[in-house]
Symmetry: C2
Subunit: 448 residues, 2 copies
């Protein structure tokens, strides 16, 4: 089955249905879960902490009745002693690198003179007051995600950063994740996950403060709760983040075993993940196909991950051949992948291709630029739009936590210059009575 699914195909020989099937990948079925989570969110709104403790018992098998939802200073202290010196150092290095990247070129307030200096106009750029960061838990730990979600908020100047993550059944958070949350700059940390955590951050409870924006990836329950509460105007959210994706554009100079590793690196995340190679080299397509089959079917390196990778590649994998690199990048723009690797050797080719790239969450240029580096300590953000949302949404960054206000400071002279236009247009809109006259009254008055 996987042999047929992955066998190299010509992109332009695909039927429209086949092409769209690839672009569609795994669609989030939010409508299948929304009816389940609305009562949970409503319950959290009504009963607060009490409801949270019950759901945490039910879903995470953790009893927080006596310990409470909030992580204590002692627990944080203990977590630091539980991790190895090396883990601490590497986390610290990652935090420093992510801080460093996210500190560059942050949009900031500006004003400029207009109307021959008679008016000053601009944009005020300020952070939200409070941000919530959802850090997934469960089967795996995500200390790296804690750093990616929290550090940009801190750099953007957010004063209160509330982090939440589901506890293990012993009522604790994995030490390395807890250290990452604290080190990144969370001001308060709570042991709660799922849609109940999102509801708590949106409505606020006795112990959890409500926030202005919620960021961070999660499962379908978490993502649907974010979207729902965004719609009902309780919160703003970051971006739709679902199963991981990689889209590799490669020419004949690329190394098929490197390509294979990168494809499988995404496929190992989830059976709904998506890994695609598009190349103008038949040789690269065939070689990658062979190595991929071998790695997946023998499972020597993959171990327990084998079945996940296999399913992911069977469901959403593809190796596609194009005549030109332009054709490949055109398809990439239609696909709008979370991660786009461009493994092209020729410099002028690379620059040409780069100019054509429009829609990708994160772009990796050249053979040494592998997604795994950016997943961890490189510094760029790994919380990215998936499922084609890169057509519309930004990667998580400091900008996610900022907002723009218009600023204007006028003199009487500026108003005089604008008056004829305001009069004409406010009359045309039937709003002259007051809009137009609010100018006139200022012009009539003697200059002070």
């Amino acid at each position: 089955m996987i042999k047929t699914k992955l066998r190299p195909r010509k992109l332009k020989e695909l039927t429209v249905v086949e092409r769209n099937e690839i672009i569609k990948r795994c669609e989030a079925k939010w409508d299948e879960v929304i009816d389940k989570i609305i009562p949970i969110m409503q319950d959290v709104k009504n009963r607060g902490d009490k409801a949270l403790i019950e759901y945490t018992k039910k879903f995470d098998k953790a009893d927080l009745t006596t310990k409470g939802l909030e992580v204590t200073k002692e627990e944080i202290k203990e977590a630091y002693t539980n991790i190895t010196k090396n883990e601490y150092n590497m986390l610290y290095q990652m935090k420093r690198n992510v801080s460093n990247f996210h500190s560059r070129n942050i949009p900031s307030t500006w004003t400029e003179k207009f109307y021959s200096g008679k008016a000053e106009l601009g944009k005020q750029i300020v952070p939200v007051d409070r941000a919530g960061a959802y850090i997934p838990g469960g089967k795996y730990n995500y200390p790296s995600t804690a750093i990616m979600a929290i550090v940009p908020a801190k750099i953007a100047g957010v004063k209160e950063i509330v982090a939440v993550t589901p506890p293990k059944s012993d009522g604790k958070i994995e030490s390395i994740t807890l250290v990452a949350m604290d080190m990144a700059g969370a001001t308060r940390i709570f042991k709660v996950g799922g849609s109940q955590a999102i509801a708590a951050l949106a409505y606020g409870t006795e112990s959890i403060p409500n926030v202005d924006i919620i960021v961070g990836p999660g499962n379908i329950y978490v993502n649907s709760a974010k979207k729902w509460l965004n719609m009902t105007e309780r919160i703003r959210i970051d971006l739709p983040a679902g199963p991981s994706e990689i889209f590799i554009i490669a020419d004949s100079e690329a190394d098929p075993s490197w390509i294979t590793r990168d494809l499988i690196s995404q496929a190992e995340h989830d059976e709904n993940s998506c890994a695609i190679l598009v190349t103008n080299s038949e040789e690269i397509a065939n070689k990658t196909y062979k190595i991929l089959l071998k790695e997946v079917c023998t499972g020597k390196i993959l171990g327990k991950k084998m079945s996940v990778v296999k399913k992911s590649l069977e469901n959403f994998g593809a190796i596609l051949l194009t005549d030109t690199l332009e054709e490949a990048v055109e398809f990439a723009n239609d696909f709008a992948p979370e991660h786009l690797e461009i493994m092209i050797k020729n410099k002028s080719d690379i620059n040409k291709i780069l100019k054509q790239v429009k829609h990708a969450g994160s772009i990796f240029i050249g053979e040494y630029s592998t997604v795994a580096a950016a997943d961890y300590n490189l510094g760029t953000n790994h919380i990215l739009p998936t499922g084609g949302a890169a057509r519309r949404y930004s990667a998580l960054s400091t900008e996610t936590f900022q907002k723009i206000s218009m600023v204007q400071k006028l003199t009487k002279k500026a108003l005089e210059m604008l008056d004829p236009g305001i009069e004409t247009l406010s009359r045309a809109e039937g709003l002259y009575n007051m809009h137009g006259l609010s100018i006139k009254i200022r012009l009539r008055k003697k200059k002070k």
Copy 2:
């Protein structure tokens, strides 16, 4: 009734309930309309243009069966001949000023060297492919809104800008609005409004292309449709824009008749609009109260607008007294108004206050900076978050149409530097197998 409602009150003597009541203002009841519009949106998805023509007949009393939904070149040409020379000039001036402001300091792609020059990281900033602009119609015309919604998209580099507005019952769009849409840069214009227009832009129909983002204000049906389709991941939307609001902070030097005009300018929009004065001067509070009552109750200038203004002030108006200006700005931040006017004379006071302002859609500094100027030809944008959403959302601007991708270009050296961290952290996350090894395989290979 209006006498009691507007009578100056001390802010700190309000009960918590009274304070929250003011902050709450008019809440959008999206849940009351969503069940009505879901079938309409579904119908447009299924039946396309046919459904649109039926709804336009039903809701706008316009029969487009033979003429079709799209505005023709001839109609646009005709519209230009229908408006006065003066209207044309003032529209053109407005478009030029809005273009001028929105062209300044646009975020653009950047990369910088990191890791002693061994890696290049940055952000790629590109516009969406297609934007939809909703221009309200009905009782009034909004040529100014057409310019505010469309010009920033064009400046941001959006290639296709699809504008929609409900037609009049004769199947036409008011000439001045049509000229504004065309002049601003709409690439296609359709005669359709309400939730059916939003659905058409989100799903696409035979004649209307689907878009990536929909911007522009509308009534509760339009806004709810935008939010719903945003949740279901068809589109991105700009910001929640409901009834207009003004919040004025004034000291003893402000002119009560100017204040009155500005308050009424917002109140005249809609009976759900909201106008609030907060001042540390008892004299200003009392004088404004008197003038306001006189203008509203005699209705000399207001004319037909009298009853709207009266209802708006009764429902959502307030005159509040504070001991200090700091207290006033603190309340402004809690309120997060669409428009904030700061009518303070003293320069050092103004600068102090400005630093404290965090949440407002648009900020007007000094007595000559009146909202009406920015509503029209000043250049700053008038599509702003309302209802407290300024705590979380930006004003509409070029940034609305852009998105940010991460960019990374690594050398082998950079990977070597990062390798220990990636190994440690990917092991901690249980993702070493492939993530860690995708680095190792690149390091093992001989340097080319």
